[in-house]
């Protein structure tokens, strides 16, 4: 009874409050006074005191979750799964058919009158040797005519290593324990000091390295170049690692080596290409001699760039493998 009266009082006073002119209220707010009845307007938290109700809510929630995410027994979910699968397969078939139709309208393979063999390709073939000094036209094209793409591509490799580093590098703060445990687990699956493997590796690795270096250095003369040669050297390093383990390889190749080699090569690449882009755009002579066609030391910047790319790729490939194996170098 009393409560009702209280409420009535409050309502009346609120109505009075509302009757006062707006200007007065704004004035009061500006002066810093709060509204008289404002403190009664706070929201109250909803409170459920009954334990049983809470329990029931929890059970309901669990049941709902079970029903929704129980994949095998929920018919609606199962239907959607099947529907999704069928629709997806149909989409892929449709994609294949569309692409087949598309290809059947394209210009025929192997004919010399395709739109592809136009003045651009002709220029690369006819003037490539004079412009770039590279006997291998493809190398001349990717490292001189379209060098910006290739620079972007080395950056793709660089950034991929960075992301793999984020994911797989062992944290230093966890201490050596986790790294050691990882290595122990790793070595468990590996026959250490296998005589056959080590002997063969001793013979093979120098050959692989020499072949890789040959491919890199002859990138402008014969098929290959920085990427393939670097991958070959990287494969050699991986073989050496597998035969002799991390301790031996750490004598000449650590994370620090990787960091500085890739930094140095990429920096050289970036500076060299910036120089050549800048001079090119301003129609200045680059002043780099092209040398005699067909010699090892020829074709201007292409050889040093190939070496840089080779170093980056070799280090990156090895770094990928080392990170996958141990989470570090």
């Amino acid at each position: 009874m009393e409560k009702i009266r209280e409420e009535k009082d409050m309502n009346e006073s609120r109505q009075e409050e509302n009757k006062k002119p707006t200007v007065y209220r704004i004035w009061r707010a500006l002066k810093g006074q709060s509204e008289e009845k404002a403190e009664e307007l706070t929201l109250e938290r909803e409170q459920i005191l009954d334990e049983k109700v809470l329990e029931k809510h929890r059970l309901d929630h669990e049941k709902m979750l079970e029903k929704t995410y129980d994949i095998e027994h929920n018919p609606i979910y199962g239907f959607f799964r099947r529907f999704y699968k069928v629709a997806g397969v149909l989409c892929c078939l449709a994609l294949i058919i569309i692409l087949l139709v598309q290809v059947s309208y394209l210009p025929p393979v192997g004919s010399s009158s395709n739109p592809g063999s136009n003045e651009v390709a002709a220029k690369y073939i006819e003037d490539g040797l004079q412009d770039t000094g590279a006997v291998n036209i493809v190398t001349g094209m990717i490292l001189d005519y379209r060098a910006f793409d290739t620079f972007g591509e080395s950056n793709v490799l660089f950034i991929a290593t960075c992301t793999v580093l984020i994911l797989l590098r062992n944290d230093k703060k966890k201490g050596k324990d986790s790294a050691e445990a990882e290595e122990r687990r790793d070595s468990y699956y590996e026959p250490k000091n296998d005589v056959i493997l080590q002997t063969i590796t001793k013979v093979l690795v120098p050959i692989i390295f020499i072949f890789g270096i040959y491919v890199i250095l002859n990138g402008h003369l014969s098929p290959g170049g920085g990427f393939s040669g670097g991958a070959i050297i990287g494969a050699g390093l991986i073989l050496y690692l597998n035969a002799f383990g991390f301790q031996k390889i750490e004598r000449f190749f650590t994370e620090k080596t990787y960091k500085w080699v890739s930094f140095g090569s990429l920096t050289f690449y970036c500076l060299a290409k910036s120089y050549s882009f800048y001079t090119g755009a301003h129609h200045l002579e680059s002043g780099i001699p092209l040398g005699k066609a067909g010699a090892i030391i020829s074709s201007g910047l292409i050889l040093p760039l190939n070496i840089c790319v080779g170093l980056v790729v070799a280090c990156t490939m090895y770094a990928f493998f080392a990170l996958f194996r141990k989470g570090g170098f």
């Binding site: 979750l65 995410y69 994949i71 699968k85 997806g88 397969v89 892929c92 078939l93 994609l95 294949i96 692409l99 087949l100 139709v101 290809v103 059947s104 309208y105 394209l106 210009p107 025929p108 393979v109 192997g110 004919s111 010399s112 395709n114 592809g116 063999s117 651009v120 390709a121 002709a122 690369y124 073939i125 006819e126 490539g128 040797l129 006997v135 291998n136 036209i137 493809v138 094209m141 379209r146 793409d149 290739t150 591509e153 793709v156 490799l157 950034i159 991929a160 992301t163 793999v164 994911l167 797989l168 014969s222 098929p223 170049g225 990427f227 066609a293 790729v313 990928f320 990170l323 996958f324």
Partner: protein
């Protein structure tokens, strides 16, 4: 066969590339196993490169390496697609390495390679 154009037979290599593209696409989309997804991705990329290489090929011509100083257009194939593919291969290797390392981390956390199962578990945890 009305749907298809005139060059269906002569472009057989490209048709195969397209079929491979579709297979790779489907693998990337529908395989449950993450490693198989990644293989699908690689197949898809390779098929595009096969397509490009077929585009550069010209019947009866040589690889674009200047021999004996002959610089005639009619001697060599189109070098541009080869250059593009070289760039592309490196990109796909980097992406593969990234995806594989993601797989390792995901497996270390959830002990499964099935992406659907992982997300079902995440939903159940209510995270």
């Amino acid at each position: 066969m009305l749907l298809f154009g005139a060059n269906f037979i002569s472009n057989i290599g490209e048709e195969v590339a397209m079929v491979l593209f579709g297979i790779g696409f489907a693998n990337l989309l529908f395989q449950k196993n993450l490693i198989k997804k990644i293989i699908g991705l690689n197949i898809m990329d390779s098929s595009v490169y096969l397509f490009l290489a077929e585009k550069g090929y010209i019947e009866g011509r040589l690889a674009p390496i200047v021999v004996n100083g002959i610089q005639d257009v009619n001697t060599y194939i189109n070098p541009i697609p080869s250059g593009l593919v070289l760039t592309g291969i490196v990109v796909s290797v980097s992406v593969t390495a990234l995806m594989l390392s993601l797989t390792v981390r995901l497996y270390r956390r959830y002990h499964t390679l099935d992406l659907d199962e992982i997300s079902a578990r995440l939903k159940k945890e209510g995270l």
